[in-house]
Symmetry: C2
Subunit: 220 residues, 2 copies
Amino acid sequence: MRTSYREQLVALAASIAEICGLATIAMETATRALLRADLVLAERVISEHEQIIAACVAVEESAFVLLVRHQPVAGDLRTVVTSIQNVFDIERMGVLAKHVARVTVRRHPEVAVPGEVAGDFAEMGRVAVKLGRATQQALLMRDVETATSIDDEDDAMDALHAHLFVMVMDREWRHGVPSAIDVTMLGRFYERFADHAVEICRRVNFQVLGEPYPGDVTPA
Amino acid sequence: MRTSYREQLVALAASIAEICGLATIAMETATRALLRADLVLAERVISEHEQIIAACVAVEESAFVLLVRHQPVAGDLRTVVTSIQNVFDIERMGVLAKHVARVTVRRHPEVAVPGEVAGDFAEMGRVAVKLGRATQQALLMRDVETATSIDDEDDAMDALHAHLFVMVMDREWRHGVPSAIDVTMLGRFYERFADHAVEICRRVNFQVLGEPYPGDVTPA
């Protein structure tokens, strides 16, 4: 019975890491669709989103079942409860990827992002995927080193987001209001995606090191 | 000891409802500041935000302590774990109120929202506060009726948000890109505030009725 309980804990961590991987792939695909105005890819992200949600619900439920059946204590208890919190963040990551895909669909056949900011979005997509993969790894391996190193990527994302804001607010912006709004919202979707990844990694640190994790819990 | 445990459960619910009230007041004050370009009020929301975060951290910690010390089972276990999820949403509600206040500060002494959409924001603020109060009540009383009735308010918020989007995307929009971006972001902050309130109310329903709450867990 003990073995089975341990196995369930390991399986729970593996499942959560796997869903984090799905959300990351969704963002990767959504970014490719965005930059190419690829309607088929964008619609695939939207239709596959249901699977991410279903996986989140299933994992959350299995975490509850584990809590109720095995009444874990101390560290294990914290692990299971923070797992449930992590699922919540991953669910949001999936939603944000879907939001990116939706903008692509709305603007099709035009490319939603003007050429002069396409490079920023390619980079934001790259950073988002890197953060998503590092988070997946951190969840699976309880790997604090990965979890800590993602701060640099998060800073890169913030810098990209700030740069976008400058571009769009500039008097030289020639693409009109609708485009400025798309770019602003898209920028925020990528930034929030990164915030959720960072939040999960902070929890991994907290779990592994027992570090008190208050104060800057919430991305500003 | 049992009594003390029961008391702690009740106190936990009361604390969470109280923080939800603080986040709601923050949004109410931020809206007033926004509509009047009131720098002092806006800065008060920003400086008081730390207290909301500190309260969230303290309540989350006390929920963990309760779990570890008393090992609640079945319904109580679910109550405590969903409490931790609720705190997460309330924390975000507080952050969103702060975001509104920040836009006010950034645009001061100008009013961040043009006159023709000021009415929409007044209404969004009103709906947000109503949702926040209903959520506070639902948390405190485990009041499913309140929790269910908020769907109407959430629909009202979505309609307001959609209307704003139409206004800003219109060719007749005469306030330029920076203002369009402010209005778009502000609209999203109110809409997300409402989403978090609705999410909490769904959990209250789930807890009280034991309704399976999957599928549309996540606001689209």
